[in-house]
């Protein structure tokens, strides 16, 4: 009898201990991390239902092989093509909170360069974890790949991807090393003329591709430049992102008043660059290689004779 009572007692104790453990551990399910923007976020250990609030973030998620875990993205998420078929939560700047809640995400991913601070505040209020990325440089993008890899349990894939991207970046660096650096004007928008400041991944790409942005001394991120100032800075090469909204063709540009006076226009050195250059995602390296080809076309063996994107 006494023995039996003891067992029950032990059993109860064990049960209590187990309960204590479970209760004690419960807040530890998931972890508290600091995201790239410096916010503290409680993220689940194995996020299974992701929502991406920006095209670049969507691309990183797919590049890590986690596209199947994405339950929602934005109307602008168009790559890879599967991303277009995901339920959309609205636009990058004003996603619908209702739609986000309805998709029951366990983690929302955003980026400080594209999303609104207010969106983060509203998600905080609703208790939906938001992990924010930042991208001022190409290395920031690689760090985002690394961080998301850790967050999604894809460390090995992230490491392999980063190594591949770094190898390609390195190859470009080797190729453009010790060559003269042409002066580059990057046209984010032409009416009014908006360019990329030095603390943007676009300027970083131009730098790594062996060029020098003519706006490297400007403090703003996306400075508006007067046409006369741009003419005065006399770029050797003018780059445009290729996108549907960019109407004039490269034949029309040199005819526009002001633009025809650029030395680059007279020398026929205006180029369209794949618009992945405005997305801090793995395909940014595609853009880097393209920009390097445009800035330094000399090793003709690697480049078809018909030329870059005229």
């Amino acid at each position: 009898m006494g023995y039996r009572i003891k067992v029950t007692y032990c059993g109860r104790l064990l049960l209590r201990l187990a309960l204590l453990l479970i209760v004690g551990i419960r807040p530890l399910v998931g972890r508290t991390v600091t995201d790239e923007t410096g916010r503290t976020v409680n993220v689940p250990d194995h996020p299974q239902r992701l929502i991406s609030l920006a095209p670049s973030v969507t691309e990183i998620v797919y590049a890590l092989g986690c596209g199947d875990r994405l339950v929602g993205d934005t109307e602008y998420c168009d790559y890879p093509p599967e991303a277009k078929r995901k339920p959309h939560v609205g636009a990058v700047l004003n996603p619908s909170l209702e739609q986000i809640v309805a998709l029951k995400p366990d983690l929302v991913l955003g980026i400080a360069e594209a999303n609104r601070r207010e969106t983060a505040e509203q998600l905080d209020r609703l208790g939906i974890p938001l992990y924010g990325l930042t991208a001022h440089t190409m290395d920031d993008m690689l760090r985002s790949v690394h961080d998301l890899g850790g967050l999604l349990g894809r460390e090995a894939e992230a490491r392999a991807l980063i190594e591949r991207l770094q190898a390609r970046t390195q190859a470009v660096a080797e190729r453009v090393k010790s060559r003269p650096r042409p002066k580059v004007l990057f046209v984010v928008w032409y009416q009014p003329l908006v360019t990329a400041g030095p603390h943007t991944f676009i300027s970083d790409v131009i730098r790594r591709a062996g060029g020098q942005s003519v706006t490297d001394d400007v403090r703003e991120e996306w400075p508006r430049l007067s046409l006369e100032e741009a003419l005065h800075r006399d770029p050797d090469i003018i780059l445009f992102p290729r996108s549907e909204s960019f109407a004039p063709s490269l034949e029309e540009f040199p005819k526009l008043p002001g633009w025809r006076d650029f030395r680059a226009a007279k020398n026929n050195r205006l180029y369209f660059i794949p618009d992945t250059i405005v997305r801090p995602c793995p395909r940014l390296v595609d853009a880097l290689e393209e920009v390097a080809r445009v800035l330094h076309p000399e090793p003709a063996a690697t480049r078809p004779a018909t030329g870059a994107q005229r």
Binding site: G90, V101, R116, L126, R224
Partner: protein, 334 residues
């Protein structure tokens, strides 16, 4: 049509409009980017369990606070418009037309520019901006000790466009991150709601409404003219100061949370006057409740027309408001 402002008439008008507001609010609860059936909405409303089910989050934490904000902002803007129209004895007066909204917006943006992410900083600065602008326009509009109706309106229009220019200047100096949020807010946006805002707005707006209602008899007398009001024993200067502070407070509070939402302060008092006449004991509660109803309905449109994306509610009120205003103008003349 004019209803005599007996206690019974005021009470039944308030009850009727409150009922309409309740119905508008319930209707707004049932529509949105995500489709919820009425029974799901009802369950969501009653479900207070933790963790919340999805319908409860959408209904209680997203739609309800936003509808309450729309009600408060709508009531504030329409009441402010009514008070300004009485104060300036000009039916075209309105916080938007007179530049007071722009003054409030500039105040809020300057608060942001100075790095203030303090919850009370932007309402306080918006109030200050509204107050200064009202005083400025009032002084400009006074010629030879009398309020000249057209001078006043022109002064307001010019002030509004000047302040817009200053706002654009400050915007161009803000960081990209702040500009994105601020541009949305400037268009008139109710999508960002915090508990702090509601707790701050509700008592302040209630206080200002009560204050104006208490002064409604004096406002009626003021409609006869300043001298006449003074002869009838109204302390005109004190009345004007109090009304102008209260109207600026209402505008400042509304603008600090929702940006510049136009036409509401102009149109709702007009519609109210058509229905209940210009006795302020009737008109003020009618305008407050009417403003709440109109903004709840406008914001429901803004939330649903291009779902899952959203329109700024200021665009909805402007698109709907301008034609209605033109219609009212022509009707009044003919």
């Amino acid at each position: 049509m004019t209803l005599r402002a007996t206690r019974r008439n005021v009470l039944s008008t308030v009850l009727l409009l409150s009922g309409a507001l309740g119905i508008a609010g319930l209707a707004a609860l049932t529509v949105g980017g995500v489709h919820l059936s009425p029974s799901e909405v009802w369950l969501g409303l009653r479900d207070a369990g933790m963790p919340r089910v999805e319908a409860a989050i959408i209904v209680r934490d997203i739609r309800l606070p936003r509808i309450m904000l729309a009600m408060l902002v709508g009531a504030a803007l329409a009441t402010s418009g009514t008070a300004l129209q009485a104060l300036l004895r000009n039916p075209l007066a309105d916080p938007y037309v007179l530049g007071i909204s722009s003054g409030a917006a500039l105040g809020a943006i300057v608060a942001l520019w100075m790095g203030g992410r303090v919850a009370a900083a932007s309402p306080a600065m918006a109030f200050a901006g509204a107050l200064l602008t009202t005083a400025w326009v009032y002084l400009l509009g006074r010629r030879g000790g009398r309020l000249a109706s057209y001078t006043l309106l022109l002064a307001g229009v010019i002030t509004a466009s000047f302040l817009s220019a200053v706002i654009l200047f400050v915007l161009s100096r803000l960081s990209t991150r702040d500009v994105r949020g601020t541009a949305f807010w400037l268009m008139g946006d109710l999508s960002v709601v915090t508990g702090v805002q509601l707790r701050l707005l509700l008592p302040s707006i209630a206080l200002a409404l009560a204050g104006l209602y208490w002064l409604s008899k004096d406002l009626n007398v003021l409609l006869l003219g300043e001298e006449e009001a003074a002869h009838l024993g109204v302390n005109v200067e004190r009345l004007q100061t109090v009304v102008y502070v209260l109207a600026s407070m209402l505008t400042g509070l509304a603008v600090s949370v929702s940006g510049a939402i136009g036409y509401l302060g102009l149109l709702v008092p007009h519609l109210g006057r058509m229905v209940v006449g210009s006795d302020h004991r009737m008109l003020l509660p009618t305008a407050a409740l009417g403003g709440a109803i109109v903004l709840v309905l406008s914001d429901t449109l803004a939330r649903t027309v291009v779902a899952p994306a959203e329109l700024p509610v200021g665009a909805v009120t402007a698109v709907a408001g301008a034609p209605v205003f033109i219609y009212l103008l022509r009707r009044a003349r003919g």
